[in-house]
């Protein structure tokens, strides 16, 4: 078994090595013309390989259980929803944000990441900026409520991580959102 494995590895290595050699040496240049007048040229033909990188084996962060995840605690509420093209925080979310501000004031070691999201309409990059504006709004409110600057980072996921798939207004409304994540949850 081991011998077969090693043999297979060597074969693959050999294959890789020979491929690399071929790829790195461009085709030779031929100086001859095709044999008739008419402006013959001669050129090398190169093929440029792409070396792949695979990140899909990496695992995500784990979460820790606490008051933050107790479903009866307001701190387990983490999402703020927005109207189309808006970034003002509606009054209904203010008690929840105030509770998080209080928690962060009491736990100086705690840090949060605010992720702003948008629906999928329009430019991906402009949506990154729109999501950022939503996240910045939540961050600003937390800072006004006395949370330390170094405890909060506001980032945007733009339209890239939709909570709801589809093109209905219900799906879009789910995706116009900020999420508050505590360190360890991201």
């Amino acid at each position: 078994m081991r011998v077969i494995l090693i043999a297979a590895l060597l074969a693959v290595l050999a294959a890789c090595a020979s491929t690399a050699t071929q790829e790195q040496s461009p085709a030779g240049v031929e100086d001859r013309s095709p044999g008739q007048p008419g402006g013959a040229q001669s050129q090398a033909v190169e093929s440029k390989p792409v070396s792949g990188v695979d990140l899909t084996g990496q695992t995500g962060a784990s979460t820790t259980a606490s008051a933050l995840t107790d479903p009866t605690n307001i701190l387990s509420k983490r999402s703020i929803y927005y109207d189309f093209d808006q970034y003002q925080i509606k009054d209904e979310y203010k008690p929840m944000i105030e509770a998080h501000a209080a928690y962060l004031r009491d736990h100086h070691e705690a840090k949060v990441l605010i992720q702003g999201n948008t629906d999928e309409r329009g430019s991906r990059e402009y949506n990154v900026a729109l999501g950022q504006r939503r996240a910045d709004g939540v961050k600003k409110l937390l800072l006004l409520l006395g949370v330390g600057e170094d405890q909060v980072e506001a980032v945007s996921l733009g339209e890239e991580k939709p909570k709801a798939e589809g093109t209905s207004e219900e799906a879009y409304a789910q995706n116009r959102r900020c999420d508050i994540l505590y360190k360890g949850e991201y």
């Binding site: 090693i6 033909v45 980072e153 996921l157 733009g158």
Partner: protein, 433 residues
Amino acid sequence: MQSLPARWISRTVTVLVALLLLAALPARAQLSIEITGAGANRIPIAIVPFPGEAALPPGLTSIVRADLERSGLFRGLEVPPLMPQPTEASSVDYAEWRSRLADALVLGSVATRPDGRYEVRFRLFDVVKQVPLGGVAYTLAKDQARATAHRIADYVYEKLTGEKGVFSTRIAYVVKRDTRYELQIADADGAGEETALASLEPIISPTWAPDGKRLAYVSFENRKPVVYVHSLLDGKRHVVANFKGSNSAPAWSPDGSKLAVSLSRDSGTQIYLINPDGSGVRRLTFTSAIDTEPFFSPDGQFIYFTSDRGGSPQIYRMPASGGDAQRITFDGSYNVSPRVSPDGKSLAYIARNSEGKFQVALLDLSTRQVQILTDSDRDESPSFAPNSRMILYATVIGGRGVLSAVSADGRVRQRLTVNAGDVREPAWGPFIQ
């Protein structure tokens, strides 16, 4: 210092890990291109199969013909089997080719060399004027057949249209399948795709360095947008911008010495310059609005960008070193994603019309005339071919993300799809030096 067996084992483990990573890459899914519109006056061209090309599967002349037809400017003529098979060295009976309605003719041959490589020669003829227009001889290994066919198509295209062909160029795009994102590179005809990066988090905004060897892009692998530069030859990638907040929208300066990026590290989303190694950050815009999607003019003098400083997202332009911005778009309430054509004559962008459709618009920078080039409704991310003739963009058809291309005059249309998956974020690479 490691003992020899220890070193051997560690090397074996490395190889094993590499093998596992390779095994994780899924089966290839090639882009297929469908021509959905063509130019009004296509040049009829006869491309006679080259004797000996069967040794170079899938053959050369079929690829040359497909390339030329895909441009929308040529019509390949059916050529019946000819005996004896003509080559580039044959004398040409122009009258006969004229009677076959050919305006142009390509003859060639493939020979095997003693070293196992191949020699391809071809010659292009103007059948109407009855003159040879030139030819090229190439030596190549078997795996360079496709690249050689694209070179021949580029030669023919340039001789007959007067502008450079883009058949040898490459495109980058992102394929999303289920939860997996792949940044892929393919030939301009969608063939030969390779995965430069596979990730379980989104990848957006790939953009080619002017050298055609590196891409800058935004990856969300750290749960936030971070700008990377990725070398395609060795797969080495490094972080360019990972500041507090979001880092996105990379754009190369034409000389490759700088990137313009959007950062939210100071306040809001603003445009900055940064060196490709991540050093030398300099802020360019100072507004309380959104300023993003920078794009350099080809002369490097200006940066076009999207801003909502006037109340709705519109396209502006400022000197590349910063300073006063000038508004460029005025029609409509949503004009984004500016891309200047490589010849500097026009600006492609995405406009939202009064029905809420997002479409590719083209602004002539000298006459200020705007033309809407598409009739789809979810267009994004336009990208010019390096000869400025075609614009590649992402759209949605039947609920699936596809790439489409449209010529700057709106006549020629193509659609590029992959089986099972959404394709988005196209970026057309530069001419191959």
